[in-house]
């Protein structure tokens, strides 16, 4: 089971623009839900979108930035990650064992991103929703069944496959690293 420790909610949209999610996440209704769930800080990475206007809320402190060299530290620190449906962001959060809510951007024309989010939602590794159902999802967050930990990545599968393909002789006697 994935347990949330700590009080930071980190929101990321990667290199995209997703103003509707950003607005929804700093909305009083969201801040309220975060506060009730025990979170005290909200950090928003808004990418190419518009900088959010935040109404001061007593319970949750909010900061926002557009981009950073690396989001590693924020991802690591977060107790809850809310992300757009980009596979990179999703996998990064899951591989760090983070509780993850993915919001699918329905304005994207070619929305194959939804496939990954919905599939992982079905496998109970994350909660996937759309902007219009985002606040409801937040409200129900504490009541949803616990999420299943994501299996650790197995890069050696691909590595061994390619080795075998390329007929790498030095692999024959060695165990995988």
């Amino acid at each position: 089971e994935i347990m949330a420790a700590g009080d930071l909610v980190f929101v990321t949209v990667g290199t995209t623009r997703f103003d509707e999610l950003i607005e929804a996440v700093v909305h009083p209704r969201a801040l309220d839900a975060f506060s009730r769930a025990g979170f005290r800080r909200l950090r928003v990475q808004y990418g190419r979108g518009v900088q959010p206007m935040v109404e001061a809320s007593g319970h949750v402190s909010v900061e926002a930035f557009a981009f950073k060299q690396s989001l590693d530290a924020d991802m690591e620190e977060a107790a809850l990650v809310i992300s757009h449906a980009g596979s990179g962001s999703i996998l990064e959060a899951l591989e760090r064992g983070k509780r993850l809510i993915v919001v699918v951007n329905e304005r994207l024309m070619d929305n194959h991103q939804a496939e990954l989010a919905d599939e992982l939602n079905e496998r109970e590794h994350l909660l996937a929703c759309r902007v219009h159902s985002f606040h409801d999802t937040l409200d129900l967050m504490s009541d949803s069944p616990p999420l299943k930990p994501f299996p650790a990545p197995s890069p050696q599968i691909f590595t061994r496959y390619i080795d075998a393909l390329m007929g790498d002789p030095s692999d024959a006697s060695k165990s995988s690293s």
Partner: protein
């Protein structure tokens, strides 16, 4: 047609990096492959990026950055014209892909890789085509491996479907059972 190198463990890989998501997935895929065992097996890696892609190179450099005790393979970057912009018509895409393929043919010929790895961006099509042409020249290499993105659960990407239809890859890998 796969090239088996007997007694010559050093392999030169040509890796195509597409935009954003494709790049991070590809780097994740090859990290263990390339950086393990002192970087001695896949000792030379050449990354292909589209000329309009400004971030993939930096991501790759970061991913290949020094880790303690790991010898780095030699790596370099080459650019090719972008095959297709988002929303570009299919007719003009064929022309721009051909233009990119001309550059790709030159690159593949001069690099002479043993292995070509791509994971789905339009950028990889001209490179796959160039690799097939390289093989037709009697070189026997490179082995062409196409990995469909992990984001593709139910449907193949357009690039994937083209690669399948034209049989451009020796190995076509998908990451979900539904495919």
């Amino acid at each position: 047609l796969a090239c088996r190198r007997q007694g010559m463990p050093k392999i030169r890989a040509l890796v195509v990096l597409g935009s954003g998501g494709h790049t991070s997935e590809m780097l994740r895929l090859i990290q263990q492959l390339v950086l393990r065992r002192g970087g001695e097996v896949y000792s030379e890696v050449c990354f292909v990026v589209a000329d309009t892609d400004s971030t993939s190179r930096k991501s790759a450099e970061r991913a290949m950055a020094s880790r303690t005790g790991v010898k780095l393979p030699c790596f370099q970057f080459v650019t090719i014209p972008r095959s297709r912009e988002v929303g570009q018509s299919y007719m003009s895409s064929v022309l721009t892909t051909i233009r990119a393929a001309v550059t790709a043919i030159r690159i593949v010929h001069s690099i002479a890789p043993d292995l070509l790895l791509c994971n789905g961006p339009g950028t990889c099509l001209p490179v796959c085509i160039a690799a097939i042409i390289q093989r037709c020249r009697g070189a026997g290499t490179p082995t062409i491996v196409y990995v469909e993105s992990v984001a593709r659960v139910h449907t193949l990407s357009l690039t994937g479907r083209i690669v399948m239809a034209l049989r451009l890859a020796d190995e076509f890998l998908v990451q979900w059972p539904q495919l």
